[in-house]
């Protein structure tokens, strides 16, 4: 598998990462090498095998849908950068 600079940039866009020239060059080589290593999975016969997305075979226990106390808005947003109690501050979205 060969990942070129354009492919690195396509993935970086999806992941919201800005990369330096140096990072792009390094990731081309590293992603190519790692993806070549995982290519062996293509050779495993998985016809008729279901996917495992989760190791639990049983469903997790469900709780009653009763309202419970939770963190208040001020406490939940206290650690947010920007310092507006009870709110998250974002750059202007609508002109």
């Amino acid at each position: 598998v060969k990942i070129d600079a354009n492919e690195v940039l396509r993935i970086a866009r999806l992941a919201y990462l800005d990369l330096t020239e140096d990072e792009i060059a390094r990731l081309e080589a590293e992603l190519s090498s790692i993806l070549s290593h995982v290519e062996v999975l293509g050779s495993v016969d998985t016809k008729g095998v279901a996917e495992t997305f989760h190791p639990l075979e049983y469903g997790g226990p469900m709780r009653e849908d009763d309202p419970r106390p939770s963190l208040g808005a001020e406490e939940a947003t206290r650690g947010a950068p920007g310092g507006v109690p009870g709110a998250f501050l974002v750059p202007r979205i609508i002109g």
């Binding site: 990942i3 492919e7 690195v8 396509r10 993935i11 970086a12 999806l14 992941a15 919201y16 990462l17 800005d18 990369l19 990072e23 990731l27 590293e30 992603l31 090498s33 790692i34 993806l35 290593h37 995982v38 290519e39 062996v40 999975l41 293509g42 495993v44 998985t46 095998v49 279901a50 996917e51 495992t52 997305f53 989760h54 190791p55 639990l56 049983y58 997790g60 226990p61 469900m62 709780r63 963190l71 406490e75 939940a76 947003t77 206290r78 650690g79 947010a80 950068p81 920007g82 998250f88 501050l89 974002v90 750059p91 979205i93």
Partner: protein, 490 residues
């Protein structure tokens, strides 16, 4: 002042000395804090320590005990936590710049349970950023060092927790294990470390890495202490829908029962693994012989798909990580790098906040989930994961437990694998398999290399068989006779 020396005392003995005397919590907290500062100066085990806070809490324990209050089983015992476990009012970093300044507004469920049992938080330990690594070199705070040889890595990602326990700061710690992050450093540092069954311990308040793989578990110097700690933190939690309602048995009683009559399987694929160090292989063979002498039947079994574990793991774990780490966008917590528009702020914050290994894994995970590649990579890995889990189901029809090396070699040198991510990933060749299958596994010191480095072996069980693992591991620990061997601090 009592003559009690805390550093090599077990959790059980420490708790007993506190409840029955003569040890006072304040004196113990002072000893632990002094040792923590010394170990931190030498080996960089900690991200943060609690000084005056823990001394005040310890005094409070002494006061309440003197007043005749009923105390929890760990009342006054100092413990340390990997710094990806949320602690209310005490900063939690995941060793990442992107969480700069973040102070959690709530406790992880495991922390609430430890507090309810009376344990005191001494500090938060170093890790690979977001638990992504096998050496604790990928930390925004710099690498931790191995207590047996400071030029070597402690293993990762729960390196700081294992260093603290191995060097006698505390008798117990919690780590997290997504692909071996408790067991690998336990092996490199010569401690006991358990990855419980997926769902045994609540993940509420654990900073997510790979949500179908992550488990919190105990790191201790003895098997009994691991059993004690697991009993405190295990059990269903309404805040984690993936935590199991399976009852929590008396793990300590299980650890103390006779292992005779158990059957242990040795996966033949793992003794013939490529690149295995000859001293690790020799230690494994000796461990197998010791097992047979305990009246445990040992036989060879097969895990035919185990060789696909590393490629499967690095697809599944990075896919899940790329989704989990999407939340770090400079809006809700930690670092914000301002930009003109919202997406610019996302990109600027994430590019400055994440380290190289985290970016690499986000990139890999984004790629394997992206349109056109999903089926070939993520879906196929998830089907191979089914086959890997099925191997364990088949093996556990023949035997009660499995035994395997923890790592292909003892601790490597700092910097040795830093420029070769693939070589670093291969350190986890014997551990990721169990995270993919969900089954529990414990790493136990089983020998030392000629150079004086610890070597660990794993005892692996079927779902929720932690009690059976403890039962075999405690007997093996006694027969190995290594629990009293400790590193000398320079």
């Amino acid at each position: 002042v009592s003559a009690f020396r805390a550093e090599w005392s077990s959790l059980l003995a420490t708790a007993k000395a506190l409840s029955e005397g003569p040890l006072r919590a304040r004196e113990l907290a002072e000893q632990s804090l002094t040792r923590a500062r010394r170990v931190d100066a030498l080996l960089a085990a900690f991200v943060s320590l609690r000084g005056d806070e823990i001394l005040a809490e310890a005094e409070d324990v002494d006061r309440r005990r003197a007043a005749g209050e009923t105390m929890g089983p760990l009342a006054g015992v100092p413990l340390v936590l990997k710094d990806n476990i949320l602690t209310r009012g005490h900063r939690t970093t995941a060793a990442s710049r992107i969480l700069e300044g973040f102070v959690p507004p709530y406790d992880a469920t495991v922390v609430a349970r430890l507090r309810a049992a009376g344990a005191l938080l001494l500090g938060k330990t170093n890790l690979d950023e977001f638990a992504m690594g096998s050496s604790t070199e990928n930390s925004a705070f710099g690498p931790s060092r191995n207590p047996w040889d400071a030029q070597r890595v402690p293993g990762g990602s729960s390196g700081g927790s294992c260093v603290a326990v191995a060097s006698g700061v505390t008798a117990g710690a919690l780590g997290s294990d997504t692909g071996g992050s408790i067991r690998l450093p336990a092996s490199y540092c010569g401690t006991v470390g358990l990855k419980p069954t997926y769902g045994r311990v609540s993940r509420y308040g654990l900073i997510a890495f790979g949500s179908s793989l992550d488990q919190i578990g105990p790191i201790t110097r003895t098997v009994e202490d691991a059993a004690l700690l697991l009993g405190v933190i295990a059990g269903h939690d309404p805040n984690d829908s993936t935590s199991s309602a399976e009852p929590v048995p008396d793990y300590l009683a299980a650890a103390r029962s006779d292992p005779g009559g158990l059957r242990i399987g040795v996966p033949r694929e793992w003794l013939a693994a490529e690149g295995m160090d000859s001293e690790v292989l020799a230690a494994m063979r000796a461990a197998i012989e010791a097992t047979a002498r305990l009246g445990i039947e040992v036989r060879e079994v097969s895990l035919p798909h185990a060789r696909f574990a590393i490629p499967t793991y690095y697809i599944v774990a990075t896919a899940e990580a790329s989704a989990n780490l999407a939340r770090y966008d400079g809006v809700r917590y930690g670092l914000r790098v301002p930009a003109d528009d919202l997406t610019g702020q996302y990109r600027a914050t994430r590019s400055r906040g994440f380290g190289a290994e985290v970016k690499r894994r986000i990139m890999l995970g984004t790629y394997v989930l992206s349109s056109g590649y999903y089926d070939a990579y993520y879906a196929q890995a998830s089907r191979v994961r089914t086959l890997i889990r099925r191997d364990f189901t088949d093996a556990f029809r023949e035997v009660d437990l499995l035994m395997a090396p923890t790592a292909p070699s003892p601790a490597f040198r700092i910097g040795e694998k830093a420029d070769d991510p693939l070589a670093m990933y291969l350190s986890d060749v014997f551990t990721t398999t169990m995270n993919l299958a969900g089954v529990p596994a414990l790493s136990l010191p089983c020998g030392f290399s000629r150079g004086g480095l610890p070597i660990g072996c794993q005892i692996i069980g079927p779902d929720f068989a932690e009690g059976t693992i403890f039962r075999a591991a405690r007997a093996l620990e006694e027969s190995f006779g290594l629990a009293d061997r400790h590193p000398a601090l320079a």
